[in-house]
Amino acid sequence: MRRREHKVSYLSSEAIFAIPAMKPSKVILSLLVCSSLMLSDVYFESSSKIRGYAQDLFMPLGALVNIPADFLASIPDSLRTRSELILSLELVEEENKKLKVINQFLEKVSKENEELNSLWSSARLNFDNYSFARKRSISSNEFQPLLIVDVGSESNAGINDILLSPRGLVGKIKSLGLYSAEILVLHDVRSSVPIVTEKSKLHGNLKGNGIGRAGNIEYIKKTASFELGEKVYTSGIAGIFPEGIFVGEITSVDDLADSKFLEVEVSLMQSPFNQDFYLIYKNE
């Protein structure tokens, strides 16, 4: 028995086997450390410099997630007989032949498409500035959901580069490590995106309100006229987000008596939960 695990009674000199409680001084010290970390994060965003590297450090932990899935996938194969495996191999080979033929046709079509696309892209966005990113995890924080994506070690992604999905803007890179990037998604309450509406051409600032909630456009004068269902695009003001990327649709416009501004809600089309691959666009 270790010494600190018991006390001796002053009355009977018997051992009292009580486990001493945590020292309040240690608790207070820890709380002070945490509070100072929080204050430095609120005022100087001190953690943004280390977060990307912290994600790199925890990356091996993330890679473990595939192990149970791979193991479960390998069970049915290990239970099959040799003849069954040969049969399935023949089927796969036949399918492969079909796919090769289809690919030949697709190559033709894609070449034509490429020409048209390059014509369009040269006028708008530079495709060299794109790189792929794969979702690794997303935090459960409802108001500040943090999307972590894997970026290649040779990727030239930088802070404030934007993340796109086929359905539009997802967010921007907040912190970067060697292999991971943290994304500030549109739904985050800290996010603010300059936008313009499709028809009325009114400018505003779109704020996130958390996962599962619509965003809202701030500081819109009551004289402004928005249409329901109107599409919202990035305006390109401030230079972080390029112009003309789809963001969402206006779902409600409320004129509240106790507010100086209109309450305009925008439904954000892209949920970071339902996507595995993204494009990173390096904005110049």
Binding site: V27, C34, L37, L61, S139, Q144
Partner: protein, 170 residues
């Protein structure tokens, strides 16, 4: 390797597994209600072996969670330290109560725990002091409910692990 260090490592291993489950295992809409396994594991060890787990473990795992979850650095740290202190202070009472009572206590603890996340530290909405609304409260309720339900199986699993692997000094 001495018995003490081995025990510490075995305890930390469970906490790392909890952290792994929290961060990587659920990547769907269920995430908002998924129990915080690292915190439940921390509560278990504080209750089962309060002399083997200290404030540093709570602080470290709180900061790890902050880094992985993207919350303010030190925010989970404060919560984990406070919950650890409360567990250590009242572990005699908590340990002897029946499992359903423990789950019931944890249910209310986790509702409160979740509410703290609605505090608007970054001052994103200057008209409000917190971001809580009916949908958030519903999510908090479901989160606490799942945490309370998961407590019993987790308790038995960790108890088996403790009895099997974490040996006392003789």
């Amino acid at each position: 390797m001495s018995r003490d260090i081995k025990n510490q490592l075995l305890i930390f291993l469970t906490l790392f597994i909890g952290l792994y489950v929290d961060t990587y295992l659920f990547t769907s809409d269920f995430q908002m209600w998924q129990p915080t396994f690292v915190l439940l594991t921390l509560i278990y060890w504080n209750m089962a072996l309060p002399d083997r787990i200290g404030i540093m473990a709570a602080l470290s795992f709180g900061i790890f969670t902050d880094l992985l979850e993207g919350s303010l650095l030190g925010f989970h740290g404060i919560l984990f330290v406070l919950i650890t202190y409360a567990c250590q202070r009242f572990f005699y009472q908590f340990r002897v109560s029946p499992l359903w009572q423990q789950s019931f206590t944890l249910f209310f603890l986790f509702i409160l725990y979740k509410q703290v996340f609605a505090l608007d530290f970054m001052n994103t909405n200057q008209e409000l002091t917190n971001l809580s609304d009916s949908s958030f409260f519903m999510n908090s309720f479901l989160y606490a409910l799942f945490s309370a339900f998961i407590w019993s199986p987790l308790f038995f699993m960790l108890r088996y692990y403790r009895r099997r692997w974490v040996k006392h000094n003789s």
